[in-house]
């Protein structure tokens, strides 16, 4: 890499990313974090920042299905990996069951920590379809929320698990 003096713009990196199920050509400054590339270069502002230090969980996204703090991941490290943000949760116009439950049960108040919590909860439900309250607490323990007191978040995750199970039951019953 060429050395850069103060005030000099570095050469952008060009890469092919897989974001929310789509292949996207992206160019970004090599110092940028995944969070910055998502928000600033891809316009995916659903992912939030609360500290840029890995302390609050607001910037969580899924990388290859696992929750990661996008403020601690360099954009350079994301080539060839599947990134899922809150914008990728919906199926067409339909809300993901987690989104439905959070909307209906008060899981989102100001909504700022919500995207990070939703994707983290999705990873939980993907590996544990009927989590206990303790499992939910553990899964979300890195995502701070200052509004809700977490209780309606726990209830929303539990409701989403029920919605998913019910939908699965219906699709299995279908001829």
């Amino acid at each position: 890499m060429t050395h850069r003096g103060p005030g000099e713009s570095p050469e952008p990196v060009h890469a092919l990313w897989h974001v929310n199920g789509e292949a996207i050509a992206v160019s970004f400054a090599p110092y940028k974090t995944l969070l910055e590339v998502l928000r600033e270069d891809l316009g995916l502002t659903g992912t939030k920042h609360g500290c840029e230090l890995g302390e609050c969980g607001a910037c969580a996204v899924l990388v290859d299905g696992e929750p990661m703090l996008s403020c601690l991941v360099l954009g350079l490290a994301c080539a060839g990996r599947a990134v899922t943000t809150v914008e990728g949760l919906m199926a067409g116009p339909e809300l993901h069951p987690l989104q439905t439950a959070f909307a209906d049960l008060g899981g989102a108040q100001c909504g700022y920590c919500t995207p990070g919590i939703l994707v983290t909860a999705k990873a939980l439900l993907d590996r544990s379809p009927a989590p206990t309250r303790e499992e939910i607490r553990e899964a979300l323990s890195g995502n701070l929320c200052r509004c809700t007191g977490y209780q309606q978040i726990f209830e929303s995750v539990e409701e989403a698990a029920r919605l998913i199970a019910r939908a699965r039951g219906r699709s299995e019953d279908a001829p």
């Binding site: 600033e40 108040q109 909504g111 809700t148």
Partner: protein, 821 residues
């Protein structure tokens, strides 16, 4: 209120929920505009220093830097209160805390702006720093500000509502306690951000994370020398506020100025460390509380002294100071009351309003002291309180007019659901329960600047499409104000909430609402919304009455139809009804407004505390305390809240649980504390914890189960009977937890936060034969001014101070900018 409701009271998805769960909600930092430049502020590393010089040439020369601003590039002073215009857009000659902004760099990207900050050369002459309220009292020099009472005393107040000394002398017992409540901060997950841009028509727009766009609008117009009509402030949805985004901030003014100078959009987003510097959070307060009681627990008189560490600027501080005394009288009958308070300046980030604004600290003292009183009098703490609850509609000793009071019912409910009688003083060592109560405003009775105009205005537009748009300056900070607005309009017009579009928090488009603070929005905006909607309903009803040939009283609105209530099959779809109204009356637009009733308090300082009505809460906290480590676990909290009427129970419960959460954080761990660096490292006074990692707040693991009881006794002072819910339920958590720790291990922690080390010290004290207490031992001697002598209502007063009668207030603004001379 026997009317039945269709929308109000139903558990509903909030109107803005979809945007929040899909990530579509645009917070201020989510805005990206063409040609946008980015700003960063250079902040002082010194807690107190004179600025000898600032050299910007090296920063300006850095490629990519567009503009460097320093203090002299911006004019004027500002501050949220007219009496405390003590902040500068960028400091000119002096910095007063670590984090005070002295320069700004605007560059093509944030990275470059940040690099350029290192190239701004500031020559500081460090000054002696004042680290605490007691230091401020002891060291009048150097003065942090050249205004205020004297030295580093910002403001002292003294009130006498009847002869408290006589009352205490005639009491069965007098309890005399001192308490300390450490400061803490809001910690919203959203860092403050502002985007400023010059519109195509040459006017200025500022998008900001602010709870008070109206006040920001006034300040910007004045500081930039622009007509207010040429400045537009849009409050983006706030990613949490809790009071921390209620001031006007340096970055807002700098972004606006830079956008005007550069002719291109400018964004400034604070980093997390800067959010800690902006602060405006809970004041550290020392308190002395003397209360006289009779054998049955009846209060005879109360004397409260408070000493506040205000930090470096005025902020809301004069109001915060008065709030430490104003609401001590609204829960229990206090026949005589004396309150003396003092706010000091120190070289720390300014304190201001945090959820509960000035009242959690003295509430902590009062409720812990009542627990001590109950024990000394061998009374159950719940029974003691039930015996002294104030009467509905009462006028208190300090002339606060109360509304309905659901406190007794709240106490009975938490006692019942918590199994209090089977637990209190009956659990094994290490487990305990504690009870406490509280009350809070439903909106401040007076605006921040003196005027006679409405506190909240609503405009409503209906048209032939059936579309309904409601406009209000209220600000959505996560609490659900848009949902309240839509719900009240929908209720009156017989629609669903998703049939109503809300346009809020935009000084160009929406009528003034003073902002999201003091739990005022549901009540004040609510009344204005109902008034506007009822006026629109009358217009539509008259057209439909004519069409159906029935009297207007028979026209009903429900489920998107307008119909004959005696023959519901006869009617029109809502859109058709509006079309007929538009044909009959012309374009349909209505307005509503709300101004709080005049306060009974007519003494100077009596403007803080009055409210159209008050909410009430009671809490029982369960704890498990490990006597070996002092570690406190909270398995369960029971909360009953007198909400009048819950407009949306999902949101109401969310506000209760969120308040409990934030109260628990304050009770157990949150503290905005400072330390001095060693002399070799400048001796500066710096934050202990300017990061989320070190500023501990409760996580999903720490949050107990919360059992919420909503007590609904509609209050005619509220919209459809509703009272506030966003702040009140925070207040009883800290004292209830302290009382529970005493029940568990027999030690009193008269200080917040209650941390394991304090519990251990108190246990150690007890083992050595001491009182088993941790907390301050004395309250500093303060030279109180002659008190305002205001006789309570039952001693023949008229709400005025005998020794300083009311000045006639002119209705006009004393100065065009609202700053009272």
């Amino acid at each position: 209120m026997s009317r039945s409701f269709r929308v109000v009271g139903a558990a509903r998805r909030r109107v803005d929920a979809r945007g929040k769960v899909t990530g579509q909600t645009k917070f201020a930092d989510d805005l990206f505009l063409p040609r946008m430049a980015y700003g960063r502020l250079l902040r002082s590393p010194h807690p107190h220093a004179r600025i000898r010089s600032i050299a910007t040439a090296r920063a300006t020369a850095l490629p990519g830097v567009l503009l460097v601003l320093v203090g002299r590039d911006l004019t004027g002073e500002f501050g949220i209160l007219p009496v405390s215009q003590d902040e500068e857009p960028l400091c000119r000659e002096r910095v007063r805390y670590v984090g005070d902004a002295v320069a700004a760099v605007i560059a093509r990207d944030e990275q470059t702006a940040g690099e350029a900050l290192d190239l701004v050369d500031v020559d500081y002459e460090p000054l002696r720093t004042i680290a605490s309220a007691e230091e401020a009292l002891a060291h009048p020099e150097p003065r942090i500000h050249d205004y205020g009472e004297e030295g580093n005393v910002h403001k002292r107040v003294s009130f006498r509502f009847g002869d408290v000394d006589e009352a205490l002398a005639g009491s069965h017992r007098v309890f005399d306690d001192v308490f300390f409540y450490e400061g803490n901060t809001h910690l919203p997950i959203e860092q403050h951000a502002s985007v400023a841009a010059v519109d195509p028509d040459g006017k200025l727009t500022l998008w900001s994370s602010t709870q008070t766009p109206h006040y920001v609008h006034r300040a910007l117009a004045r500081l930039l020398g622009l007509p207010a009509g040429h400045v537009r402030v849009i409050a983006c949805p706030n990613g949490g506020g809790f009071g921390g985004k209620s001031d006007i901030f340096q970055h807002e003014i700098v972004a606006a100025k830079a956008a005007l100078v550069l002719g291109r959009p400018v964004k400034i987003t604070l980093d997390r460390e800067e959010v800690f510097y902006c602060h405006r959070g809970r004041h550290p307060v020392q308190m002395r509380l003397r209360t006289g009681v009779q054998k049955d627990g009846t209060i005879t008189g109360m004397h409260l002294e408070t000493l506040l560490d205000g930090g470096a600027y005025g902020s809301y501080g004069v109001a915060s100071l008065l709030y430490t005394g104003a609401l001590q009288t609204v829960t229990y009958h206090v026949p005589r009351y004396r309150f003396q308070g003092c706010r000091t300046f120190t070289n720390k980030p300014p304190c201001g309003p945090k959820r509960g604004h000035g009242t959690p600290q003295p509430r902590f003292g009062l409720e812990v002291q009542l627990d001590k009183i109950a024990e000394a009098l061998a009374l159950d703490p719940a029974e003691l309180r039930l015996g002294i609850v104030e009467q509905p509609g009462a006028l208190t000793a300090n002339w606060m007019r109360l509304g309905t009071i659901g406190l007794a019912e709240c106490i009975r409910r938490v006692v019942r659901v918590s199994g209090w009688s089977e637990k209190f003083r009956k659990l094994p060592l290490g487990r305990g329960v504690g009870l406490a109560c509280s009350s809070y405003l439903c909106g401040a009775g007076l605006p921040i600047y003196w005027n006679d105009m409405p506190h909240s205005g609503v405009q409503l537009k209906l048209d032939r499409s059936g579309g309904v748009t409601v406009f209000c300056g209220a600000t959505e900070i996560g609490q659900g104000s848009d949902d309240v607005l839509a719900a009240l309009v929908a209720e009156v017009l017989g629609l669903g909430t998703f049939d109503v579009r809300c346009v809020t928090g935009d000084t160009d488009l929406t009528p003034v609402d003073l902002g999201s603070y003091s739990s005022r929005v549901t009540l004040m905006m609510g009344h204005a919304a109902i008034q506007a909607a009822e006026r629109a309903r009358a217009l539509v009803a008259s057209a439909v009455a004519r069409k159906l040939e029935i009297p207007i009283e028979r026209v009903g609105f429900a489920e998107g139809r307008v119909f004959d209530v005696e023959d519901p099959g006869r009617g029109l779809a809502f859109a058709e009804a509006v079309a007929r109204a538009e044909a009959l009356h012309g374009t349909i637009g209505t307005v509503g407004s709300f101004t709080p009733p005049r306060s009974a308090a007519r003494y100077q300082g009596g403007g803080v505390g009055p409210s159209p009505t008050y909410s009430y809460s009671a809490a029982v906290v369960e704890v498990e305390v490990d006597p070996a480590t002092g570690w406190i676990v909270v398995p369960r909290i029971y909360m009953a809240h007198d909400i009048g009427r819950a407009l949306n129970p999902v949101l109401a419960r969310g506000q209760v649980e969120g308040s409990v959460y934030m109260g628990l954080g304050e009770a157990l761990m949150e503290e905005q504390a400072f330390r001095r660096l060693p002399e070799r490292l400048s001796g500066a006074l710096v934050h202990k914890f300017p990061s989320i990692l070190e500023y501990k707040s409760p996580t999903s693991h720490d949050m107990p189960e919360v059992v919420t009881e909503l007590v609904e006794d509609p209050d005619s002072a509220g919209p459809f009977g509703a009272k506030e819910v966003g702040q009140g339920p925070l207040l009883p958590i800290m004292p209830a937890l302290a009382n529970a720790v005493y029940d568990a291990v027999g030690v009193r922690i008269d200080e917040i936060p209650i941390t394991p080390d304090k519990v251990l010290k108190a246990l150690d004290d007890k083992r050595r034969g001491g009182a088993g207490r941790y907390g301050p031992s004395t309250f500093p001697a303060i030279d109180w001014p002659e008190p305002l002598d205001v006789p309570p209502p039952w001693e023949g007063g008229d709400g005025q101070a005998r020794n300083r009668p009311e000045r006639k207030r002119s209705a006009r603004l004393d100065r065009p900018d609202g700053v009272r001379s």
